[in-house]
């Protein structure tokens, strides 16, 4: 029996070794889960893989007895890992180095179905305010004036005058964003409907003009529903955070392809 212990590959693991390795494996498993609770940024993945590798080494060296085995078997195991790694690495040389303007996966049209570039256009944000100011100066200053005081050049001929966004007196009615948005979309009185403006523009304008006056009244979910926003969905049911138009080069390419097809 002792003879057996000397030869490579005939090592008999002691019960003590088995139990100790088992306990180590349980400890490292706990560590795996514990460590997952912390955020190490880019190191998250390497740390997780390091712990997994330690566990794997314990299993391979002790349970699979590679530590006591013939060299050939160790070479066989390491060789398998090397070639597995070659597969992953060289495939990645393709997958992760493709040029950005090539759409490698998935059709593009799904993305272009978004109605808004912003994450949640019905919620005020600095980007929306900036955008709103820009649109305002193009679309609204004729009547509402450059400061939104209802004193634009076209206002001279209007009765009643266009709303002065800067005074509280003019904000008694329709002080909710959804109501302002609805007015923009459908018009009211002498104000024409601006429904032709993109959804983003109208929401941006809404937030901008409300920011000029007193604090607006918050919208309830049903209020938002009236203007087509379903708050139970993260994108409001309209599709957000995506391109709202096809990129120009893509469109040009499509036209070129279409044109070259012979009928």
């Amino acid at each position: 029996m002792d003879h057996n212990k000397e030869e490579p590959g005939h090592h008999i693991l002691t019960v003590k070794t088995i139990v100790v390795v088992g306990i180590c494996l349980f400890i490292f498993t706990w560590l795996t889960v514990h460590v997952a609770g912390y955020d190490f940024g880019a190191m998250n993945f390497p740390v997780a893989m390091l712990i997994a590798s330690i566990k794997a080494s314990l299993v391979a060296l002790f349970f699979m007895a590679l530590k006591y085995d013939a060299v050939e078997n160790r070479v066989i195991f390491v060789t398998s890992l090397v070639f597995g790694a070659i597969f992953i690495i060289l495939t990645s040389v393709d997958i992760f180095f493709r040029a950005d303007d090539v759409y490698v996966t998935g059709p593009i049209f799904k993305e272009a179905k978004a109605a808004s570039k912003f994450k949640q256009p019905w919620v005020k944000s600095n980007e929306l305010l900036t955008h709103g100011k820009k649109v305002f100066s193009g679309q609204c200053v004729a009547c509402h004036g450059s400061q939104g005081a209802g004193d634009g050049p076209a206002a001279a001929s209007l009765n009643p005058k266009p709303r002065d966004f800067t005074v509280a007196a003019d904000w008694i009615k329709k002080r909710q964003p959804s109501q302002v948005y609805e007015v923009l979309t459908n018009g009211v009185g002498k104000m024409p409907a601006f429904g032709n403006l993109p959804l983003d523009d109208r929401w941006a304008l809404t937030h901008y003009v409300l920011s000029l006056g007193p604090k607006p009244i918050k919208d309830s979910d049903s209020d938002l529903k009236k203007v087509g926003i379903d708050t139970s969905k993260p994108d409001g049911g309209i599709g957000t955070s995506g391109p709202t138009e096809l990129p120009i080069d893509f469109a040009i390419e499509l036209m070129a392809v279409d044109g070259s097809v012979k009928q």
Partner: protein, 536 residues
Amino acid sequence: MSDHAVTHNEKTNYLNHGKGIWSWMTTLDHKRIGLMYLFTILVFFLIGGIFSLLVRLELFTPGKTIMDAASFNQAFTYHGSIMVFMVIIPLVPGALGNLVLPIMLGAKDVAFPRLNLASYYIFLAGALIAASTLFLNGVDTGWTFYTPYSIRTGTSAIFVLFGAFVMGFAGIFTGINFIVTIHKLRAPGLTWGRLPLFVWASYATSVLQVLATPVLAITLFLLMFERLTGIGIFDPNIGGDPILFQHFFWFYSHPAVYIMILPAMGIISEVIPVFSRKPIFGYKAMAVAIFGIAIVAFVVWAHHMYTSGQSELANFVFSLITMFVAVPTGIKVFSWIATMYKGTIHFKTPMLYAFSFLWVFTVGGLTGVILAALATNIHFHDTYFVVAHFHFTMVGGTLMGFMAGLHYWFPKFVGKMYPEGPAKISCVLIFLGFNVTFVPQFILGSQGMPRRYYDYLPHFTTLNQISTVGSFMIAAGFFYAAYYLIKAICCGEKASANPWRGLTLEWQTSSPPPHENFHEIPVVTEGPYEYKGDKV
């Protein structure tokens, strides 16, 4: 190595040890298993060959000749799939390897005889599953099964995929068997430095089989899973990547072509020294070159994908590395030629096939370098240039190497000699027919004729017709070979134990060998190529 001929009682040998079909079906004798592989594979070779003739007939004229386009797609798919999975990959290891390897090592059998028998049945089962599709809806994806078409095609692709999946395991188990046999069952005195090059070649091939074939298994599995449930990994409609499939497929299929060629190179390394009566030139370099080829084989697969849409970086990397495989290959070709230099050449059939191999494989290899270069590949990809390249290497390489080995070891395993005259005629017919078939295809490809095309521009007609005529010459050559070999099996002249006066261990036992290979295990005292210039 001992030189004496064996004169034991040759009445009982492995062929008549145990009678009846059941003793064959349950045999654990590697030699009988080798013969079973050989006959099964030759049947599939016939079927695959018929498909090649059908393809060439259709291409005799532009437009429809004998079948419609959908049938043509199936014809070339079956030709490719059958030839690759059921013929060229298992042929030399399964048939000749099983017959020769253990005896060359001085062993009584392979390490795992029951696993060996299981491998044969697994191979047979997989082949039958794949072949059953001939009676179902067929398959028309090309043997490469590229997505997304292979996901959407309504043909019986699943059974071909599953059949290939099953056949892969036969290769893996054979590989495992051979590696352990070579490691553990060498005769006394047979050190690594005295191993015949056929053993080195089989060793490298087996390593390739065990490392690469499982990736084919996962590829086919994922494709089957995708056809069944639409998991979307390779399907662009759901966000998957069809180029990823190509990476998976070629990670196996490129090493696969080296699985095909290395054993044949091993055979050539056995035949040339014997028939030149000279030791092989540069034995160590030849052994190292075999493994050089095997290792480089694993890191060049995406040279099949330059135009697929993969990254520029990948194109550059893979083109660069692919160039390196020419180095060990060149070492081998030059060593074979150097072996013959100042040797006493005996123009027996095995040697004629070796000459054919040298010409055809070299052309195939050189055109491989042209295809390895990114700039030229862009133009040649998916043209007949590629078709000609791989036929030169696979047919010219593997098949001619196999024919050399078949004739070389025929007297050993059948106990009878094939007729030399007809064999030479058949060899010339096959060689000429081969060149007539495939040289025009290089020209067709460089002029732009695409491959797998049912129809072609009228000015390609003449070359296509020449190619078709050549294919029938090859067929004639093989049918003639079948004829004289079968005739020799039943009534050929009795062969001695060592008709070629070879020095490797298989010639130190009787022809045919006894059931247990040797009556007494030989002891090896010198290298396998110590020829000193005597006549054959």
